[in-house]
């Protein structure tokens, strides 16, 4: 049985739809991981111990266990305690929290690297600790952390393929569906890989322009 790519175009719509869901889940989980990362980082560094310790424990748990298992736990496990999440939402939460923990590590390091003079400059003007963090320290920490966080976003895009196992109709699952009808795994997995590559190029271009804009303001 030779390769026959002529079947691929007839499933173009399916792959396009899958790509759309992949983008959607990446964007949603990406935003969750960004803002979640900031909240985790600030809590882990400055929170009251009753918040700080759970956040650190949670981070340890999320970094120390497989993402696939976390997705199973959120989608299949939570039903048992009465939380029945739609697959898309479960995927966004799983991916988002997983990468929020990684982003949080980056942001924490970046916050600690902000020059002490920045705190002093702000505090002597009369800004409170919280105001100094929000307006002076965190914006600078985020600026510095955009490039490495971009790498996390690319990893997030690729790992979004994992949510196919909980039934989110994203690109990987779309390809599998086409395969189950046509018995052409090589052609469709390759086509899916190509689609991931295109989305990835767009994401990288976006991140680069963001970095350029930040560099211009320094």
């Amino acid at each position: 049985m030779g390769l026959d790519f002529t079947v691929v175009p007839s499933y173009f719509g399916v792959l396009l739809m899958g790509s759309g869901w992949t983008v959607a889940i990446t964007v949603c989980a990406g935003l969750l991981s960004f803002f979640g990362g900031i909240i985790f980082a600030v809590t882990a560094l400055y929170g009251h111990w009753s918040l700080r310790l759970p956040v650190r424990g949670f981070a340890f748990l999320f970094m120390g266990t497989p993402l696939l298992l976390q997705l199973f736990l959120i989608y299949f496990g939570l039903i048992q305690i009465g939380i029945d999440l739609p697959a898309f939402l479960a995927g966004v939460i799983g991916l988002g929290l997983h990468f929020a923990v990684y982003n949080s590590e980056l942001i924490q390091a970046s916050i600690l690297a902000v020059d002490k003079g920045q705190y002093e400059g702000a505090r002597t003007l009369g800004l409170s600790r919280g105001q100094t963090l929000r307006r002076i320290v965190i914006p600078q920490a985020i600026h510095a952390v955009i490039p490495p966080m971009g790498n996390n976003m690319i990893a997030l895009l690729k790992d979004s393929a994992l949510v196919s196992v909980i039934g989110v109709m994203e690109l990987t699952l779309a390809a599998q569906q086409a395969i189950s009808r046509t018995y052409r795994p090589f052609e469709f997995y390759l086509a899916a890989a190509f689609c991931y590559y295109i989305v990835n190029l767009a994401l990288e271009a976006g991140l680069r322009s963001l970095e350029r804009r930040i560099a211009a303001s320094r």
Binding site: Q118, E120, L125, L127, P139, R218
Partner: protein
């Protein structure tokens, strides 16, 4: 406490563990007075300056500004609120400028007046323009600090502090990090403030500047004020050996 000077430091002491960096220091600064603090590095002069706005709180002693005790002992939340309030009246200029690199010059100057004094955007912009004009940098209002020279950065830092209309200005070696040719532009701004009778406490290594601008000079060494007086006395006719030795090293350079 009505017989107090504008800024009063009473029995100030500070130690880091066993190391005493300030030992029973007393200082009174009248409104409009300009006081220079000189001394070798490690003498405690910066620490004393930073104690005035609670950046380095004293171990014991009192700091007063216009009848208000700066370093009140209060429960944490009240202390924070109190300190944030009194710091608005105390401008500080640092050796390394400490401008906010992610904000433009305008953003640097308007941030605190907008957040803390509730100025409208238009009023804050006007304030920024006025303060920048005063330090001669009106055209730099939309630049980021990274595009400025050291002297320009320090002048923006002064404008930022002045925008809060402080009662007293603290200068912590404001020209020490500058290239020699950039020192003068900052000194000029400080002289201009002196002419406007801004109360200033200046930690400096520049004896010429201290001599020409200040009303009083304090010489500190090893955490104590060794000698103080008008610049004519301290620089021309110091009474203490330690002062003489220090000045000999500094003036011969």
């Amino acid at each position: 406490m009505t017989d107090q000077a504008f800024v009063t430091i009473k029995n100030a002491a500070k130690s880091f563990g066993a190391l005493e960096v300030l030992k029973d220091i007393n200082l009174q600064v009248e409104r409009g007075q300009i006081v220079a603090i000189i001394g070798p590095s490690g003498s405690g002069k910066s620490t004393l300056l930073r104690a005035i706005n609670e950046l380095d709180p004293l171990t014991s002693g009192e700091v007063w500004l216009e009848g208000v005790q700066i370093n009140k002992k209060l429960p944490y939340r009240q202390y924070e609120a109190h300190v944030n309030q009194v710091r608005q009246d105390i401008g500080m200029v640092f050796q390394h400028f400490n401008l906010f690199p992610h904000l433009t010059v305008r953003g640097n100057i308007t941030l605190a007046p907008r957040m803390l004094k509730g100025l409208s955007e238009a009023d804050a912009n006007k304030l920024a323009e006025e303060q920048l004009a005063k330090v001669g940098l009106a055209e730099k209002i939309d630049e980021y600090p990274s595009r400025l020279s050291g002297g320009q950065k320090q002048r923006v830092a002064i404008a930022r502090a002045l925008a809060m209309t402080p009662k007293v200005m603290l200068f912590d070696e404001a020209t020490s990090a500058l290239d020699p040719e950039l020192v003068e532009e900052v000194n000029l701004v400080m002289k201009q403030l002196a002419e406007e009778h801004m109360t200033m406490i200046i930690v400096t290594h520049e004896m010429d500047f201290a001599a020409s601008v200040c009303d009083r000079v304090l010489f500190m060494d090893q955490g104590v004020v060794v000698e103080e007086g008008p610049p004519s006395v301290i620089f021309q006719n110091p009474q203490e050996d330690r002062t003489r030795n220090f000045l000999r090293k500094h003036l011969s350079r």
